[in-house]
Amino acid sequence: MTLWMHELRLLMRQRLAATALALLAALTIAALVAGMAEVARQRAAIAAIPAAQNEDIGAIAAWVDKEKDAGSAAYYSFHPTWDAPSPLAFAALGMRDVSPYILRVRALGLEAQIYDGDTFNPEMALPGRFDFAFVLVFLAPLFVIALCHDLNSSEREAGRWRTLAALPNGGAALWRRRVLLRLALLWSVICMPFAVAAALSGAGFAAILTILLLVAGYLLFWVVLCALVERLGWSSTANAATTAALWLMLVLILPTLGHVAINRAIAIDQGAEIALAQRETVNRAWDIPREDTMKAFYARHPQWADSSPLTSAFHYKWYFAFHQVGDESVAGKVRVYRQGLEARDRAAHGLGWLLPSVGVQSVLTGMARTDLSAQLAYRDRIRDYHRQLREFYYGYMFRDRPFGKADFKRAPMFDAKT
């Protein structure tokens, strides 16, 4: 134990080491604070939905109530959906800044609504977020390098190495002690603030433990890398340059090359095609006999087929039917589009097994539910909800039931949990 204390005292006497540890602790805390502030902003935005929504729906209800037309109610009412940040979202904000976490939908064609984004400043999103994941993935390795690149070489350069190797508990044992001590210190300046922040945010014990192990594993990777470079027996300076160059490759260059390769290999052009094709089908309904649309609609949704036939007057049930037929006409494209997105996501996670930097980022964003698959899951929940909305309004439109003020309150609410 005293040997360990001596090592610690030695380490803390180095200005570089002490400064580095303090700096890393400060950066970790700053990143956690920034992440938690962003998550708090997002929660506040979600909490502000009901007030705005009530005002909006209240005004619509006031005039729809006069004619009690369910079609008008469905046409003009926007219904909010939201994707609440997970307890770990503060650690890895992932895509939450560029993909919407609040989206309002109408019972009209969903394919023209579901890809809409929220307001964000692209220049602010461009450099990436300053969050815990960034400090861990990008910066922590640099601190490992600063502390571990010269464990043997500095002793050799100072002429002490042979003496140390000859001591009892010297040589390899000394080296192990030093490495473990540095690893433990780096780990704790990253993990202690993180554990506090995670506990404050209500993250589960198992999740916190997993991330603590993940941090240890990632730091260990860089320590081992430093050790391997040191075994080449070069000077401290050469060691520092080599490990920093490896960092550049593993953290900056290879992931960007991977990004180019993945987006090249898995082309996704369907996005705009979905929008264009859906619009064509929807608008074509005005130029074909209305019965054709209704026939196509009833064939897929026989539960409404017994609805009274259309007259020459406009009826919203036809309007909503052709919107739904429009959605269904692009279902194939939507599936291909989604498969493309999933394939890209899988490929990136697969790359994580080769590149630890990508691996850690992918595990963190996966656990924080801030990655592409979380976005797709949110889209699925919107689709489910939209289905409920349609059924709700169709129950009035196709049965010609009046839609009064009280009925607005009966509309299904988005359930953020499912």
């Binding site: 600063a146 340059a241 608008n283 406009f314 930097s357 592409l372």
Partner: protein
């Protein structure tokens, strides 16, 4: 041969003998070539795709059958954001903004299907472009090549030997600067050649390209000065290396990410839900289109009747419903523009805060200079959005006017079975509608937007030069 050149030649020879340095430089050149090629191919692909889609959308619009003009207002049109000519060098925010936009009446839609929403998590690691290579990778490589330039001589005591042989401090530092500066320019050359190759692209103008070349040259020279400066100040080359890597990490990696966090905390943006609700609220205050008794619309009706000298809308020579549509669109569009400007201004303020932080991190300044000159920054994007909105407005109003002039009020309000046929106007009108043409900012405008960033980078360059001059005077003194 003069002393400076001699020292520079010696330094270069030493670098050439360092196998790691040579391999790293070759890798960097290869990386630049890969970046130029892939970025160019990527941008070409995007440009082709958008052009194809744009063409399909225009053809679809022109090919619509006889329609009621208001149907065309809802049919709307798609526009695809064209890429600036220099986007292959620095795509800037292009990845983060949507590619396509649906323009229709009454509504302002978002630009959708941006690359960032269609990419894996890797997109947040940065993009491999010539700009990225010059901004991030090249300085680090220069650090690896140059950290020891002066520190090595101090450490090994060869500095004294040099000085005893008659080389002055200025000559020694000057020689090191010359050597490292030459390397910096050689490293930048492939990217600059790639940039110039883009000059053949339509729309590429010389002025912004000159600003980019000038800006990046200043940026790399700034690093050359900083490296030699740190190398002059410290006594051990390893300290120089660690200090320089730390400076690089803070300037290039850390601060560009911290700046947006600060800016976004200082200037919050109103989200889309709140904006839409606020617009709806303002619309209700201005007048309720669903209420026939509404005073605003009653006033409008009275003024129209007075203008034409009739007492009933049925007696108007034009279709009152069309006039009402024109008026309604005018009111909503005013609101869209007001809220749009508010949001753009807020984003502009965020960018200004980040720009102010660029005073302490020239990497931010360089990035904004580069994007501005390439026409891929927020200002250029805002320009596109504003043109899109102007086009949307004029298209919708042409169609509304067509309803006023081409459809009679009696037909428009009729509900008999033949009315649908009589309400339609000839399909020839659709082809007569002008297509959206994006007017790219001129070279002078782009270059002008890049000036603040350029000024900051040059300011840093001057400061670094002054500091180096001071440090040189004290080189070799015992401390």
């Amino acid at each position: 041969m003069n002393v400076v050149r001699l020292i520079a030649r010696d330094e270069l020879r030493l670098m050439a003998r360092n196998r790691v340095a040579v391999i790293a430089s070759v890798l960097m050149v290869l990386l630049t070539l890969v970046a130029v090629a892939s970025s160019w191919a990527h941008q070409r692909g995007i440009a082709d795709l958008r052009e194809r889609h744009q063409h399909a959308a225009e053809e679809a619009f022109d090919g619509q059958p006889d329609r009621h003009p208001h149907r065309m207002v809802h049919y709307g049109t798609f526009i695809f954001r064209p890429l600036s000519a220099l986007a292959a060098f620095d795509p800037g925010v292009d990845t983060f903004t949507g590619n396509s936009m649906f323009l229709e009446g009454h509504r302002q839609n978002t630009a959708n299907f941006g690359d960032v929403n269609q990419s894996s998590l890797l997109v947040r690691f940065g993009q491999l472009t010539p700009a990225f290579v010059l901004q991030a990778v090249a300085p680090l490589l220069l650090i690896f090549l140059g950290y020891g330039a002066v520190a090595r001589e101090t450490e090994r005591g060869t500095l004294r030997v040099l000085m005893m042989q008659g080389a002055s401090r200025t000559q020694i530092v000057g020689g090191k600067l010359l050597a490292l500066g030459t390397v910096a320019l050689l490293l930048a050359l492939p990217a600059i050649v790639g940039l110039v190759a883009l000059a053949g692209q339509p729309g590429a103008s010389a002025l912004p390209m000159a600003v980019i070349v000038f800006g990046y040259t200043a940026w790399l020279l700034l690093w050359v000065l900083a490296i030699v400066l740190v190398s002059t100040l410290v006594r051990r080359s390893r300290d120089a290396l660690l200090a320089l890597i730390a400076i690089w990490a803070v300037m290039v990696v850390l601060l560009p990410r911290v700046a947006p966090s600060l800016a976004e905390a200082a200037v919050p943006l109103r989200n889309r839900l709140q904006t839409d609700v606020a617009i709806a609220r303002d619309l209700r205050k201005l007048g309720d289109a669903h209420n026939p008794e509404d005073p605003t619309f009653a006033r409008f009706k009275a003024s129209v009747l007075e203008r034409y000298g009739v007492t009933r809308v049925e007696d108007l020579p034009v279709n009152y419903k069309g006039l009402l549509a024109v008026e309604g669109e005018r009111i909503t569009s005013n609101l869209f523009n007001r809220y749009g400007s508010e949001s753009y201004d807020a984003q502009g303020r965020q960018n200004a805060i980040a720009g102010a932080i660029g005073m302490i991190s020239p990497a931010i300044a360089l990035r904004s200079l580069s994007m501005a000159a390439a026409g891929t920054d927020f200002a250029a994007h805002r320009g596109f959005l504003e043109q899109a909105e102007a086009y949307r407005y004029s298209l919708v109003q042409r169609l509304n006017q067509l309803e006023a002039d081409g459809v009679s009020y009696a037909d428009d309000t009729a509900k008999d079975s033949g009315a649908d046929r009589r309400k339609r106007v000839s399909a020839d009108h659709w082809e007569a509608m002008p297509d959206f043409t994006y007017k790219a900012p001129t070279g002078a405008t782009l270059a002008g937007r890049a000036l603040p960033g350029l000024a900051i980078v040059l300011g840093w360059l001057a400061a670094a030069a002054a500091l180096l001059a001071l440090a040189t005077r004290r080189l070799g003194e015992r401390r």
